[in-house]
Symmetry: C2
Subunit: 687 residues, 2 copies
């Protein structure tokens, strides 16, 4: 069959890419072996009929949950058949492109037992879980409590007579809520409940609670359990998020996970040695989210870039128009500067997110290595960094995905872009694992502590807070100015980092001063919450600084790698450097007031910054299709009529419409019942 | 039954409101008669079982479309039974809270015939349409063309022999696409097609095209028609958006609407007297969208305000905690400054949108009165204003609705907030009726023309562009400074308006200079598209100015009204003034770089602006529940478990979950088939 114009346009765009796309892919995934492993996993999934996505658009929640259960079971089998590890399992879940109830089994149930169970408990539960002889979930959130763990209302009361815990939902709002896998799939749950002995409350602890019979899957007496209903935007449709109320439900004492806190047979409570040891799992969850955000957001930019390359609208003869193709054709939408200036910075952000995900995971692994030998020195910085980045990255990832969808104009509102499904899956990450606003308090608190340290023991300031030192001289603020004089100065990474460092330091010190002042002036006494808006600003400023720094760093490393397969060849490096500049300068432009309100940037610098952003955007016009190809997302994953690799957007959109079940009938359901009586109300009409 | 704590909290919050809520409602709807009429319409709808929303969460697209057809038919009957006018019909559609295929019959089919048909054509078609003996839709967009009307690929070729038009989809991408009502419901369509006589192309014209037989509703031979499939986020689920391909399909010559252009029996084409006469309908559609945005967005702020008033999280003893209720309770989430500073400015925006919708509709009516007597003087300004405001208002309305949903934290991701359905319905307005980015070129072009006029005939500058005059002295920029010296100066509407005027003028003149320069320097020749980013900034700056001005103006008018029923009593006026200040200053803060990058605001003014916004937010804490009650949205409309009037959020969320169809079974579908085999793969397990 002859190529459509759409296909020609995308193929033609690919000829212009200046760099080797495969090499770029190896850079993004930190080496060829990771690229190969991901492709191997994709192939495992894509060939299985149960993971076919063709009818997803038409499933209601009831049917979708059943599908989710079937997919979950098959996923478990594949994991066992191919002896895949947890990282591969996570990759499978990403490729499947829907959140399944089995996810929490490997993502939370097993890790919690592994980290909080004693050796005996691990030996008892983990082999069963690994072989899926039991299926678990993680039950923390309640109807009345999410963020505030210490006020959970589920209790676990020690019953000395029988050596048991009595799990109880003390009130209506104590019902566990939102628990993935609890509504239908799981046999067991690890449940957060407030431990109580002899009327004394010891706070939240973790218990392994059998939920459904291994005989017939019926919920045990004393547990009221079910699905909480559909989610926003049709998101998590195949996930059954469950609720559970416990009515004085008994479990053995030994089902409390006792690696840290313990309760003896005679009801004596033994405190954990270090209260923060469980922070590791929070850091992991947030680091994974940051890494995922690169995956997710890059899918959105891939789809938008391809579709906007093949969509043509208006013949704008003075506009760059690929006249080597055919001067009579309308202009490709991607050639409009407005479109480029919205889209290309998001491609740069996607790349920055890949780099951030990589470094964050390395930081986490370093932390865990330290912790395992009792070294908690890095904990505070890593925890704060993962919090700040989780908040920032998931915010821009969700908002950017919706922006990509809107960039696609009218057809962007079709389900068949794939992007509404993607957004619906991403956006809860803005509120779970720490609400993105509440979470920013972590980094703010951390920086305030670092300021105190900087004043007395400057050598102890941690690597990513070193910029605070420059600012110990109070006169720095309002008197420091950006050094840019010529447009090309903006392309100096040192200049970029200096700007982000100065701005973060200024905001951190302003917060510091406000907190000190607020605590001292009795007439205007302020509490921590009064500063939370500023915490948000400080934390995002720091996160942006870290993102800019890590992206720059990852390019330097790729350039200087001694291993040829990891090394980025020119001109790939040139393109990456342009992306990094664009990422830094566009982020600055988007938050311009922070940089200019105290005169750090002068009026003419603001103007030249905007001009430089536009110039960088324009310079990437021939590269963007290659840049998104390098993300290596196969059509199966994108599931997008408009963003497929071949660019055949209109044909695919047409074909999708033909598969619409409504179109199987020549006359629609409801005609005889509703339409005909209306049309004939005033008698027969002949026209 | 005893009140739940949730109910107590909301009831208690209501006792604090300082103003009369009913009086505020009358202000919002511009008089008691409008409030009454709206309530009458709500009652008509809410009592009909077919409009019940209880099972909406579980309908797939197939079932939803059938429901949409049933609802459409009933809506038509109610309109006839109660002899409702088009405005009432539009209100009904808003109350129903879903976009139905019948909407385009009264919203586009009838208006297009009325405005573009000859008297004879109106006499022929309109009575049939009014009695729903035919049902129509409006077919403009094609698979390959949306924004660019002039390149539509559907043709209407005159066939002299039979005195007919041959409607033809000349290519694959000529298929009409996205056409509401075309997929299943309609019998007729008004179709935009390029008129061709004797091989000569006369551009797009409008034709009445029979689609389905009045006998049996089957599509006529030569028309390939169907539904294009589901939409993003489950939006427009009950709407069938259709496609159609015409295969040399014949209709009588007289089916061309000939009020302006005409074609005679012998194939002579007669041009319309004035090309812009059809702008009126575009202005109307955009004005309606602006008015709707107040309705929609205020529903989101209502739901969020009520839920955040009853949600309690963390016991923050130093935080304002309604200790008159019970000091042991956790803090109401709405009492956290971070939450207030996100939510309250959106309540202010909702009020500003109500005011803007009101004034915009008045402007439209004024324009039409003028046009009907041949006066086109106001056309350009009204058209540009409606374009700029449509772009700005639908952008903040959609983004704000999603922000309200996220403000609700974890439970915000439940379908039962009602807000995801709302967002899914609002967000296509960002791309239809003129893409929000493309549309900003209208206002930019207009302001550039006004600058030219200002230079030669300053007295001819239109009312909303008068601010350009102050800036004719080029030295004004970079040397003008905001007059604020004391915090209370920010509360002067003149100061606020001066800031918005100065900023708009600066951006408009910068654009003007760039366009002049770009056209002159051959080395850096720029086209209009190169300036589109700046057009966007200019247009939104102007839109914000107009919004601030209209909100201020509407309060002044309410205060000075001679009719007691329309007049706002103190302290209602005080609260409204605070809202207006907050709206203006928060908008300024959100776009701070525009105001400070050239030194118009000094560093200390930036600081004091932020402080003033915080102070205004804090001052509204006791008023917000009353302010959202005043929107007068009944529970039927909100369809929100979390935002109902009684505040009983947890109970309603629980009840909704119990109605989940999945929960009818003790053991889920798929257990025997998928879960059991997995659990038993390694043999029976006894625990």
């Amino acid at each position: 069959m002859a190529q459509t114009q759409n296909q020609k346009d995308l193929a033609h765009a690919r000829t212009k890419t200046s760099f080797d796309v495969s090499n770029m892919t190896r850079y993004l995934y930190a080496g060829p072996e990771n690229v190969e492993q991901r492709r191997y996993i994709i192939d495992l999934i894509a060939r299985e009929p149960i993971f076919n996505k063709d009818d997803w658009a038409w499933l209601n929640h009831t049917d979708a949950v059943k599908r989710g259960i079937a997919m979950s079971a098959r996923l478990a089998e594949i994991k066992m058949e191919h002896e895949l590890n947890d990282l591969d399992f996570a990759t499978m879940c990403e490729i499947i492109d829907d959140t399944l109830p089995i996810l929490l089994h490997n993502g939370a149930f097993i890790p919690v037992i592994n980290s909080q169970g004693t050796d005996e408990q691990i030996e008892k539960w983990i082999p069963l879980a690994e072989k899926f002889q039991i299926i678990g979930c993680y039950a923390q959130t309640e109807l009345g409590h999410g963020s505030n763990l210490s006020q959970l209302e589920t209790t676990a009361t020690f019953i000395p007579d029988t050596d048991e815990w009595e799990i109880n939902s003390t009130s209506f709002t104590a019902a566990k809520w939102w628990i993935g896998g609890l509504g239908a799939l799981c046999t067991h749950a690890v449940v957060q409940a407030r431990l109580s002995i002899n009327g004394k409350d010891y706070g939240a602890h973790v218990f392994v609670v059998p939920i459904r019979s291994l005989e017939d899957h019926k919920p045990f007496p004393g547990i009221e359990v079910g699905d909480i209903g559909p989610k926003a935007y049709g998101g998590f449709n195949k996930m059954e998020n469950g609720f559970a109320r416990f009515h004085k439900y008994r479990i053995p004492r030994d089902n409390m996970l006792m690696r840290f806190s313990k309760v003896s047979r005679d009801g004596v409570y033994i405190k954990p040695p270090h209260a923060k040891l469980s922070y590791g799992s929070m850091v992991l969850l947030r680091s994974v989210l940051i890494r995922q955000m690169g995956q997710y957001f890059s899918r959105a930019t891939t789809v938008a870039t391809r579709y906007l390359t093949v969509r043509r609208q208006f013949n704008n003869p003075t506009q760059r128009n690929d006249s080597d193709l055919n001067p009579d054709l309308e202009t490709q939408v991607i050639n409009y500067p407005m479109v480029q200036n919205r889209l290309f910075p998001m491609i740069a952000q996607s790349y920055a997110l890949f780099a951030a995900g990589q470094v964050m995971m390395e930081m986490y692994i370093g932390l865990m290595t330290g912790l395992s030998s009792g070294d908690i020195a890095a904990l505070a910085e890593v925890h704060a960094t993962s919090s700040a980045l989780k908040s920032y990255c998931t915010t821009i990832g969700a908002a950017g995905t919706e922006e990509c969808r809107k960039l696609m104009g009218g057809h962007g509102y079709s389900y068949f872009t794939g992007l509404s499904h993607l957004f619906a899956s991403i956006v809860p990450s803005n509120t779970y694992e720490g609400d993105n606003y509440v979470l920013t308090q972590q980094m703010a608190r951390y920086l305030l502590k670092e300021i105190k340290i900087a004043k007395v023991e400057p050598e102890k300031v941690t690597p990513y807070s070193k910029y605070l030192l420059q600012a110990l001289d109070k006169n720095a603020f309002g008197r420091t100015h950006c050094s840019v004089t010529r447009p090309e100065d903006w392309l100096n990474p040192k200049v970029q980092l200096a700007a982000f460092e100065y701005r973060s330091a200024r905001l951190a010190f302003e917060l510091h001063d406000a907190v000190e002042q607020g605590g001292q002036d009795p007439a205007h006494l302020k509490t921590w919450s009064d500063h939370n808006i500023e915490c948000y600003r400080v934390s995002h400023a720091h996160a942006q600084y870290v993102m800019v720094r890590w992206f720059i760093q990852s390019i330097e490393e790729a350039q200087n790698s001694e291993e040829e397969e990891r090394r980025l060849q020119s001109p790939g490096v040139k393109v990456l450097e342009s992306l990094s500049h664009l990422h830094a300068l566009h982020t600055m432009q988007t938050n311009l007031a922070d940089f200019c309100e105290d005169g750090y940037l002068s009026p003419s610098q603001c103007q030249s910054l905007r001009a430089q952003v536009k110039a960088l955007v324009a310079s990437l016009a021939d590269e963007v299709v290659g840049l998104v190809d390098a993300f290596d997302h196969p059509d199966f994953l994108l599931n997008s009529a408009l963003g497929a690799y071949d660019g055949n957007a209109y044909q695919r959109l047409w074909d999708k419409a033909q598969s619409e079940p409504l179109n199987r009938k020549e006359v629609c359901d409801g005609y005889e019942e509703y339409i005909r009586p209306l049309l004939k109300k005033h008698g027969e009409l002949k026209l």
